[in-house]
């Protein structure tokens, strides 16, 4: 598979990109820092398929999207999939205390990510389809106190991805929405892990299976599927009282 991969430098993206490269998928890495990207490319190439190249792309700067994806497609000599694990998180307290940070998180996780997907979608459709795999979150499933702002961006992203799937599946575009629960990465370091906290590796294995099958929605780790089903069904009166 020829894959443009945004977010391979860290966390679940690092784990997923390793699984893909080690089975022979050719990646092109997109991300914020050229040196960091080069280090990740070296890591993948040590025991897996060497990435075709790297290019800088900032989700906060939509003007960088078309050029970076253009380079990816050229270097890969095709494009079968676009994966986006990149995203930003901050606690509700931090976001409430700092409107500029809140604006950045909302912009990166919603506007930036959606516009990136728009660019990716166009390119994949122009080639007759492919897979677009994007990491949203269980935080977008229900309005919840600790993730009011971050969750709002992810809720919007999830809805957009759902619509893309409805709109373009017939044309060969397979949209895979990943909804991680709590996963132990740099993003959540410093937060107390709840029960069922997952490891990036197990998430990566599950997501790769979903990509191969074209599953439209995947909860990871798996336990978060039923957990979110319960949370979605809780009445408002209960949601007002609980702290999660």
């Amino acid at each position: 598979m020829k894959v443009a991969f945004l977010g391979a430098t860290a966390g679940m993206g690092r784990a997923l990109s390793r699984k893909m490269a080690s089975r022979g998928d050719i990646l092109f890495l997109l991300g914020l820092d050229p040196e960091d990207l080069a280090r990740s490319a070296a890591d993948l190439g040590t025991d897996g398929a060497r990435p075709a190249g790297v290019a800088v792309l900032d989700l906060a700067d939509p003007s960088s999207f078309a050029g970076a994806l253009e380079r990816a497609e050229a270097a890969l000599g095709g494009l079968d999939a676009v994966v986006c694990t990149a995203g930003m998180f901050a606690t509700q307290e931090a976001l409430e205390a700092d409107p500029a940070l809140a604006e950045r998180v909302l912009h990166v996780d919603f506007t930036g990510t959606v516009l990136f997907c728009e660019e990716a979608r166009k390119r994949l459709l122009a080639r007759g389809g492919g897979t677009l795999c994007v990491f949203s979150s269980v935080a977008g499933e229900r309005g919840r106190k600790p993730v009011a702002l971050y969750g709002a961006a992810k809720a919007g992203l999830t809805r957009y991805l759902e619509a893309l799937d409805h709109k373009h599946r017939a044309e060969g575009l397979r949209v895979v929405t990943v909804k991680p629960g709590f996963v132990k990465t740099g993003m959540t370091a410093g937060l107390a892990p709840p029960p069922f906290a997952g490891e990036p590796d197990e998430v990566a294995a599950r997501v790769l299976r979903a990509i191969d099958r074209g599953s439209p929605v995947v909860y990871a780790p798996a336990a978060w599927g039923p957990i979110m089903a319960v949370i979605r069904s809780l009445p408002r009166a209960v949601m007002r009282r609980v702290s999660f």
Partner: protein, 441 residues
């Protein structure tokens, strides 16, 4: 949020970890790095006045392997387990491995770890070609064994994280003939015979180690099992790649009495008699050969809520043939029940200013913490000082500073000078350096 940290011996202090993939950013202004926390004592624990340590484990990228020379560049948080998973299938193994694969490269450098091949290959640091380091003043520099900043290099190798933060490591990996081990085990009747057999095996085998029963007394004191091995020849090894072992986890703490003297005795007996034939030979899995303890995750929980310590010392050859017996007799007299007692001969000392091994015999004992543990360690240390030996900082939590000085006088002075040069304000420090070197808390 968990607000304590502990070493492998599970003796907690107030502390918390800071994690990120970006080790460069993370180490700015840091007091201490921590890897996988497999050091038993307080070397990877923060000083009381600054409870935050940088944990390196997310910095786990391989930065390139030269398949001609075996030179590997990697980030300091890469573990030997990751190298085994990713590179052993391609025929590469670390030049030196400790008895657990869950250590980081940074931790392996800082403790200058040794393995079953110390008598031929020396310590980990001797196979490192370059370190990229963040200094206390914020600069990032390279340190090499014979080139750039060689003094920093040899202060860092074995320096327990106290000279700067290791960011990247360049290491010469070894090609192996097959991923299987050709192993020989021998039953030996007492400690003196055991040590002779160890030295004898060292002539023939690159990997040697042994477990002894330190509860039996008198004539059979120190009877044990000696294991020797080498990578198997492809002709004699199975053609398939060895399957990874299933993971078993020690689910909870055992109550303290479980590891009392009687059960430890039963265990050692059982182990001893299981190996009844005097000599056995065969092909075995690399995991069971190098990492038998890794088969049970969190096995340290079996020592119960009070935790445990490991006492490891090296007794120099000059101390003479009875030195190991004298230490074991002392242990036995004081009723120190040790579940595990590992004895291994060491090759010559290297240039690492505080590197542990030196030519002689290393003894490692696991000791459950009890009211008299401090007194027991004191007594062992006095014996070791009398024999001209030293202890291993990666295992230690009980040694007194005056005992440490008595073991290390000249080397310690040079180590202090190196720290004064590379960290004049004494920013980088650990609970261990506060305890042993008099650093400010």
């Amino acid at each position: 949020m968990n607000d304590t940290l502990s070493g492998w011996g599970r003796l907690p202090v107030p502390g918390r970890e800071k994690l990120s993939e970006n080790l460069e950013r993370l180490t700015e202004g840091a007091v201490l790095c921590r890897g996988l926390g497999r050091s038993y004592g307080d070397s990877a624990l923060p000083p009381a006045g600054h409870p935050e340590v940088v944990t390196t484990t997310l910095a786990d990228r391989l930065l390139g392997l030269d398949t001609q020379t075996g030179l590997l560049r990697a980030e300091a948080g890469v573990s030997i387990a990751q190298l085994n998973e990713r590179l052993l299938p391609r025929g590469w193994f670390v030049p030196v491995t400790p008895g657990t694969q869950f250590v980081t490269l940074g931790g392996a450098v800082a403790a200058d770890v040794h393995g079953k091949n110390h008598h031929v290959d020396g310590c980990f640091g001797e196979h490192v070609q370059r370190l990229r380091m963040r200094l206390a003043d914020g600069r990032i520099v390279n340190a090499e064994p014979d080139g750039e900043n060689a003094d920093l290099f040899w202060a860092t190798v074995g320096g327990m994280g106290l000279t700067g933060h290791v960011l990247d490591v360049e290491l010469r990996m070894r090609r192996v003939r097959s991923p299987w081990i050709h192993q020989e085990t021998r039953r030996v009747d007492d400690i003196d015979e055991y040590i002779d057999a160890l030295k004898d095996a060292a002539q023939k085998w690159p990997f040697t180690v042994g477990w002894i029963d330190c509860l039996s007394r008198g004539k059979s004191l120190g009877r044990g099992i000696l294991m020797a091995g080498d990578w198997a020849d492809p002709e004699t090894a199975p053609a398939r790649y060895p399957k990874p072992f299933p993971k078993i986890t020690m689910p909870f703490e055992l109550p303290s009495w479980v590891l009392g003297r009687a059960s430890v005795k039963a265990f050692n007996f059982g182990f001893y008699y299981k190996h009844l034939p005097r000599k056995m030979e065969g092909i075995t899995h690399w995991q069971s050969f190098f990492y038998p303890l890794d088969m049970v995750r969190h096995w340290n929980r079996m020592y119960g809520p009070r935790g445990f310590t490991q006492y490891q010392c090296v007794l120099p050859d000059e101390a003479g043939r009875g030195a190991a017996r004298r230490v074991l007799e002392l242990l036995s007299r004081r009723g120190g029940a040790s579940f595990l007692c590992v004895i291994k001969d060491c090759g010559p000392e290297n240039r690492g200013l505080l590197s542990f091994p030196r030519k002689g015999i290393s003894i490692a004992l696991d000791i459950a913490v009890r009211d008299d543990t401090q007194a027991l360690v004191d007594a062992l240390n006095e014996q070791v000082i009398a024999e001209g030996g030293r202890i291993y900082l990666a295992k230690d939590s009980f040694t007194r500073p005056d005992h440490f000085r008595a073991m290390e006088s000249a080397r310690l002075e040079r180590f202090r000078e190196a720290r004064a040069k590379w960290d004049p304000e004494g920013r980088i420090r650990s609970a261990q350096s506060v305890r042993l070197l008099g650093d400010r808390p």
